[in-house]
């Protein structure tokens, strides 16, 4: 089963510069574990030490943000495209204050 995975510029150091790689898995969690086998360290940039999806990245299955699809439990099927993008965010607030106020 082949899943097309799109890699953002900032993470291409893990894939030898490749913009897209092929991997497998029936859920996002499984896919990321398989990806990390082929490209060690990549998973650690996407998943926090506590095991949640990192807030600095957006991951999509086809057109849908996985946060709306059960996050790491999101189901993936043969032929799907998984896109990883850096979340673009920031602002005048300090990070700690923003996290406290936004409950993240």
């Amino acid at each position: 089963m082949a899943i097309d995975v799109r890699i953002p510029t900032i993470l291409r150091s893990y894939t030898g510069g490749a913009k897209a790689v092929s991997s497998a898995g029936e859920s996002l969690a499984e896919l990321l574990t398989n990806l990390d086998g082929a490209y060690p360290g990549l998973r650690g940039r996407l998943i926090t030490p506590e095991g949640g999806l990192h807030r600095f990245v957006n991951i999509y299955v086809n057109d849908e943000d996985v946060r709306f699809l059960g996050s790491l439990d999101a189901k993936i099927s043969d032929g799907d495209t998984v896109t990883i993008l850096p979340a673009v965010a920031g602002g005048a607030f300090g990070l700690a204050a923003a996290a406290a106020v936004l409950g993240r």
Partner: protein, 171 residues
């Protein structure tokens, strides 16, 4: 150094003024590897906040795919600070995830003068760079005359050092 067309800077400042006191954000796309800021794409601030911004993830996917289809990349990622100086906050630095982008900040704290500064943010390191304006701005001037927007910016100030200040008086 960021080299950018005057019309694009005017459009970015107009966007920031429009959304004030909320932070405004967006992208200027350009051909991959060209470092040429060519296509202004204002984005939604999904947070609609005076102190925080976040691209709407669905809109971002659409825009990033469009850039990909056109062999473009984000050359500039901009946002506004509406009550503080245009310098990257710790939040800005921790989120900076496009290594090829110029991070442009606009402060709208002064209603008359927009402060504009540009930075590279790599591995948590912030370095400021000069902004060079090119081109004329007839369209923007015309639309300003026609709309008579009372909030329209009347001058720009680039950078922080007196040598880099460029006053652009319209009237």
């Amino acid at each position: 150094m960021l080299t950018i067309h005057r019309e694009i800077i005017e459009a970015i400042v107009a966007h920031a003024r429009r959304d004030h006191p909320d932070e405004a954000c967006g992208v200027v796309a350009g051909p991959v590897g060209s470092d040429a800021a060519a296509r202004h794409i204002p984005m939604e601030n999904a947070e609609r906040s005076t102190t925080f911004y976040r691209f709407d993830s669905t809109e971002q996917l659409r825009v990033w795919r469009e850039m990909d289809d056109l062999d473009e990349e984000p050359v500039v990622i901009y946002h506004s600070h509406t009550a503080t100086e245009p310098y990257p906050s710790r939040t800005d630095v921790s989120y900076a995830g496009e290594p090829n982008a110029h991070y442009l900040l606009v402060s709208t704290r002064d209603p008359q003068t927009a402060e504009i500064r540009s930075f590279r943010i790599l591995d948590g390191q912030v370095s400021e760079e000069p902004v060079q304006l090119v081109g004329e701005s007839m369209d923007a001037m015309r639309s300003y005359e026609e709309n008579g927007d009372p909030h329209a910016v009347q001058s720009f100030m680039f950078g922080q050092s007196p040598a880099a200040v460029d006053y652009e008086c319209r009237r």
